[in-house]
Amino acid sequence: MAISNDSTPLFAAGASSTLRLIGYLALAIVLMVADHRGAYLERVRWTLSIAIEPLYRLAALPARLAHEGRLALADREKLTEQNAELSRQLMLAQARLNRLATVSEQNQRLKELLDVQHSLGIGVQLAKIIDVDTDPFRHRVMLNVGSNQGVNVGQAVIDAHGIMGQVVEVLPNTATVMLITDPAHALPVTVERTGLRTIARGGGALDTLELPNVPVSAEVRVGDRLLSSGLGGHFPAGFPVGSIRAISNDVTGMFAAATATPSAALDRSGDVLLLHELPDPIGPPEAAPVTGPPAPAALPAAPVKGGKP
């Protein structure tokens, strides 16, 4: 009979096997708790990166080849059309840039007059998205640059239309970016029209941001643009984040809950920009430098302050 020479016995060996299961489960749970507290996985991944990074590139290879094949076979007419469209856009952008140059010069002069310290000077680095998917329910993308190219955790990632996300993990030659639509992500925004400050959280779908705590009294309309507010210092201020799509009341009725569509093209892979200098955190101002009477004049006053009273 086929069953009789089966290697797994039907009834025996139950206890030892269960014991082993419990052992492995306990080990896995210990590992998970340790990793959750101490983030050991990053160090493991760092040491294994020699094996892991080529795997990512290998997994992305078919999609890349398909993309390049389509590009190579694209017909001439379409390319010409695209070229015309792009040069039109470039001309518009150039015109706008020229105007901006004068504005920025003017701004610079005014700032010097006002003696403002921080600047909007921003360094960027071009990066390409490696098209792999580690978990469809987490909104992460992989970039083809890593710590060898000077990428750090916390850098903001933008594309031509707006903020995409921030770097959460860096390997020697790749970096993982958490998109702004990840349910675990939140970023401070302002409504452009009214200046209202609020928080935009990831909605779990690639085209949804949630604004859960908008005061009922605040005036927010469908179509309002959201800009990053720069609070917290993770993202630079003034970059487009999204636009309001719908507004409703939340369950408690205390707040209005709005949903927004992200401006960045999160579902399309391609080139992105990594912002290099993290903006100055806007927080409590630094202690003002000691001003007052010059030192020699202050010296005699000090003992008095010291408190003879």
Binding site: S7, L21, L31, M32, A34, L55, D131, F137, G204
Partner: protein, 163 residues
């Protein structure tokens, strides 16, 4: 000797393929339907050559999966251990099921896997995943017969080639 080597190559090659398939990009709409390939492959090998599969191997494969996907270390190890344990327990019965019943069993196994995953994520304090989270066992069930036939065919060819 050579045949054993070819079989080992097929075994490890199929498992390595799973990691690649898991990373492979899909169109956005199809992403929730991506089956958990590693689990499916483990089911196949546990049914066909149980002497190769044990809880230890499932654990190590899971750890490798964790290192690749960059999730919590030990998450997939735990899931695969539970899957492997249930499989080896009921192997003698599952093995002689007709194909459609096997598919249903795979559905049940992976549904259980999803529940375990949900529990782990809930313990880690993550928000509840969307409804599409539950689609994965369905696609695994649909993918199972094809995977089974493909691998059976490959193994039969190896045998014929040698004899």
């Amino acid at each position: 000797m050579n045949r054993a080597r070819a079989n080992a190559l097929l075994f490890w090659g199929s498992l390595a393929m799973c990691y690649l398939l898991q990373l492979m990009p899909l169109p956005q709409a199809l992403l929730p339907f991506k089956p958990y390939w590693l689990a499916l492959m483990l089911v196949y090998w546990a049914l066909e050559t149980p002497e190769r599969i044990g809880l230890g191997l499932a654990f190590v494969l899971g750890l490798a999966g964790d290192a690749i996907s960059g999730e919590l270390l030990g998450e997939q190890a735990l899931r695969l251990c539970i899957l492997c344990f249930i499989l080896l327990r009921f192997r003698s019965r599952l093995r002689f099921f007709p194909m459609w019943q096997q598919s249903l069993a795979v559905f049940a196994l992976l549904l259980n896997d999803r529940i375990v995953l949900l529990m782990i994520r809930a313990c880690a304090g993550e928000p509840t995943p969307p409804a599409a989270f539950w689609l994965e066992p369905v696609s695994a069930m649909l993918a199972w017969p094809w995977l089974f036939l493909l691998l059976d065919d490959l193994r039969a060819r190896l045998r014929v080639h040698e004899s």
